[in-house]
Symmetry: D2
Subunit: 350 residues, 4 copies
């Protein structure tokens, strides 16, 4: 199947919120042939493929599992069903792309990782933001030493959001920030402790406003603010490095990513025999460079990485271990919340 | 002295970073007559009044204390000297306006508050931001019930800043956010616990990046991000209320304050039998209203309140107790930092 | 055909730049059944419907004309072919939706308008921007007298753009601004004169930077800046009214439309015995209101209006006459350009 | 007087809108000693120097003229009085800095230029914006060939403004844009023709909304939009060059000046055998560089240039001829307005 240049037969399971995006991108990608869409709600599945589609629609997962022309499955069902659905797909020898979070718990996620490795199949997490041109470029800049040592990361992801029926704001929004962190940080800056503060000011029965603080290896810090109640939408990540600093504003269209020369050392020097007033004047000394970024839809790149990892018989950039690491921090954040915000160690190697 | 309409004789002690602003504003205010400027560095004092000034300049505080035509003193010396300087002024029967923080510790600050009360003198904290038109309007909106119950406050005050020689970023920047909170929050939303997370990623010997989380009475939350290392300058405060939400962006010139209709309740309703996709579409339902704000320099209003509280023989809006409450939270935040970020009770009535 | 509730059979002719958007929107709209896509380049047509489509694809226009189940045709071929293609469709008794500009000249466009009227068929111009929620709301506000008399309109539509092979920047971009103007202005504010200034600073052989000035009935003015060479993208329209003013910034996501209270009269009053300095202080006196706008794709609303005008047997909001008026101004602007920028009368009733 | 390092004695005549800024900046500048302030309204003059000033205040111009310790005068009286006041100062052998516009007409301005040259005195126009760090940098970039050949300049200066009693919006606001143009453009890009379009939609008796189009030598174009009626404040200038483009947004605080790589040539190439859709995707290809700018008040630099030109016995950067060129365009714009917007030749060498 994967040795030829034939498109890989693929199915999408789950046609709710995210499924239609997978259907559209896998359907348009030359590396795949979309063979079926499966949802328990057949009407929803029909709606997702549209009125003029030749793609098979079914409410029976076995039809997918039994179809030997289907070599890969994208799973976009509710998280609570990820384990049985993805296990069944792996058991039928199909590569699996799975919507975040990988599973509702690290224990479940570990089973998926083990099964995929036992069967030598690709298990890829759809950490979509990691495939945006901005995040790809940030990772590259950090890995190539362009901004020096990473000193802190501050991320804000707030909006008027839907109060989820089953999960709190950490589990809904923080996977984005945590998967991005996991993707961009070098190996010597892994999270070692996490502390969480949350609030449920509207009595929704779960945290609607949340703050995560991660201590990173080497003394750096990362912080994420996630919030369903903010009237203003903000999607900004700042990465402070020892020589340069990055600001990624995902809501900007013309200048999503800016790199600033760092001026703090100069500040310290200027203290010698000078007043605060004089020092303040030279606050911002460096130029800003905003690199041009290609205009590529992130899910198209997700599809490409899924195809490439299948064909090249290798782990994808965002594999099951990446998904596990994100889940581990979310679980430890729950522990921190339960204990009043005290910092809790992260499990480390996963 | 204070019963007539004569301008009140005033002196400014300390002509460093903030002093010149006090000199300019007290000098221009019709309620005061600027009689002297005092600084140990006489050159600096001369520079602060300018080359063409008739205002007396001295390096001897006693000259101020002994001048009976001086009824009030503004103190803008380094915080470590606030206690002796202000105590001397109060001891000489002069009303005192004092730059934030009121003192380096609650213990010192308490002495100032007690002395002022014992001598029936005005002790006012220069919590400048509380006198901006935006904060005045926010307080008014909250007090008048315009936005409903306060549910959360999120404040970001970040910039490439000068690394202070003697204090960390919490003590440098958070007094602004804490004094604003103290000013705008109703009495049933006082902070009850504080947790602090900080980092010193550049090995400056003190926290340069900090996060404060305050639990407020009644289940609300407040959070402040203060940061000396951010390449991008942000000065934004969000106040979430049960019926409306406010966004104050102090860097905007034409629309500093926006009030949003709240749509979260609609979100919850829309969950009945609907998909997340449909609910997401109606995310922002309400209109935005941006009230026109007068263009007044905050320090001019500070001067006006200082004058009025002296003449009307009453406590100023930001009195010594307000200063004490801010200091108490800063000290408790130090405790939290020392204990790894655990939430620490705030002292309450001060 | 049009008396029942059956979806109207529709075809799209032209699958180049804009055709795929029509295919997607007409294909998703419940009022239509997409029966065929026609393009001389069959590969392009196949690509436009996608790999999994049941929609018929053809390079032969006669197949469309002969299909009696097709009651309506959307034409998105190059402007130079609009006349023969649309005339053929009208001649086969099909309602026609046509991409802007209606035709390459008013003479051609007039033939289309006459033919549609003679055959009692709908001829609709795809003036897409008129169907955005922002423009719909602006029209409504003007018509309902919310902003008073319209005094001026200033429109900026600039970007790094593709140098079109056959038309200049006026014919490429100004149809958007002119069709919006035509849509929102009341009948007593029609353009009466047009002057055009342009430049070709890159020696492209046609104007790449252009400025249009329209004198409106009643002394008002409208101005449009269109530009292919601008590194920064701007899409802003200001509508000044006698009581309020509107700013529509199409690149904003959260606040596309803002209504400002008007303060100029206060300015005039404040001149009595006051200095300019004092007057300047009160520059902006009014509140800003940003109405919530529904999130609807404009082309979906275009499809809806096309369907409704067919079923209700009436002229669409943007009918052939609207297209004619836009073309007339473009032709008169060419005349003005040729004569060095002198203002030229607009033809008026069309 | 001017051969020593002694500060130059200076007086300010006119303490209305702009005078206080000159008083503050000349008073703070080490190159000058502020000796007197003159205004017919003595109260206004007293208010301008403040309550604690040693600077002499007078309503009698002769006191200034007769004071031999005063070597230079800054004139900030109403334009209609510029000729007699400045002529008197020059006649008393004083160097003159004069607020824009230099005079109410080119004829008057010419008299000032001739008188200053006859007496070998400095005559400097206070074209303040030319001394901002952004404009200085733009001029430098253009002169050094950084952005290639200048192809177009587009300037927007709009705001809710005071309706001036004696002049229209062109004479009030366009001097800023015209003086900047005069300053930054290379000698082979001088304006050769000007066309003006204006409107008075509020029946103020003069143009309140205005558009200027300048044809520049070599086929380039410049355009300025000036407007007293705009609810939104915009101060943006775009300079298109053959290799790079500049955007100066004076209302930004952190990124006033941005330089964009130019991508239009690539666009043209990409047309070979490709569709418009593909070409559109690669619209913006280049990086953005935002140079760090020093934080200097423009009027401080004006004072410095005034001092330097006096001491070095040379023409200032913005001399009387620059003022004349600006006035000439304003007068020609009046001619264009009177003739319905037709382009009118500019006088050229002045």
């Amino acid at each position: 199947l994967t040795n030829t240049n034939e498109p890989i037969g693929v199915a999408v399971v789950g046609a709710g919120y995210w499924g239609p995006n997978l259907i559209r991108n896998l359907g348009n990608h030359p590396g795949f042939e979309l063979r079926a869409v499966c949802d328990l709600d057949l009407d929803r599945a029909h709606k997702a493929v549209g009125r003029y589609s030749t793609v098979r629609v079914t409410s029976d997962l076995d039809e997918i599992l039994d179809d030997t022309r289907i070599g890969a499955v994208a799973v976009a069902t509710p998280p609570s069903t990820h384990l049985p659905v993805a296990l069944a797909c792996l058991g039928a020898d199909k590569h699996v792309l799975i919507e975040k979070p990988l599973a509702p718990s690290t224990a479940d996620a570990r089973k998926l990782v083990d099964e995929a490795e036992a069967r030598d199949l690709v298990l890829m997490c759809d950490h979509t933001f990691c495939y945006t041109p901005a995040v790809q470029r940030i990772r590259e800049m950090i890995r190539q030493g362009v901004i020096g040592d990473v000193q802190y990361v501050d991320s804000v992801r707030i909006n008027l959001g839907l109060i989820q029926p089953d999960i709190n704001v950490f589990w809904d929004l923080a996977p984005h920030d945590l998967s991005i962190l996991d993707f961009i940080l070098p190996d010597d800056r892994r999270p070692v402790m996490v502390a969480a503060q949350g609030a449920d000011p509207i009595a929704a029965g779960k945290e609607c406003v949340g703050y995560l603080t991660l201590q990173l290896d080497g003394g750096a810090i990362a912080h994420a603010h996630v919030n369903w109640l903010s009237p203003t939408k903000i999607r900004t990540t700042i990465v402070g490095g020892s020589t340069h600093m990055l600001v990624w504003d995902d809501l900007q269209t013309s200048q999503k990513l800016s790199m600033f020369d760092r001026g703090v050392d100069l500040r310290a020097d200027s203290l010698q025999g000078e007043t605060r007033e004089q020092a303040l004047i030279s606050y911002r000394v460096g130029d800003i460079i905003a690199p041009a970024l290609p205009e590529i839809e992130a899910l198209h790149a997700v599809a490409g990485e899924f195809e490439a990892s299948i064909r090249e018989h290798r782990a994808p950039l965002t594999d099951g271990h990446a998904g596990l690491r994100v889940l581990d921090i979310l679980e430890r954040a729950d522990d921190s919340l339960a204990s009043g915000g005290v910092a809790v160690p992260v499990s480390g190697e996963l």
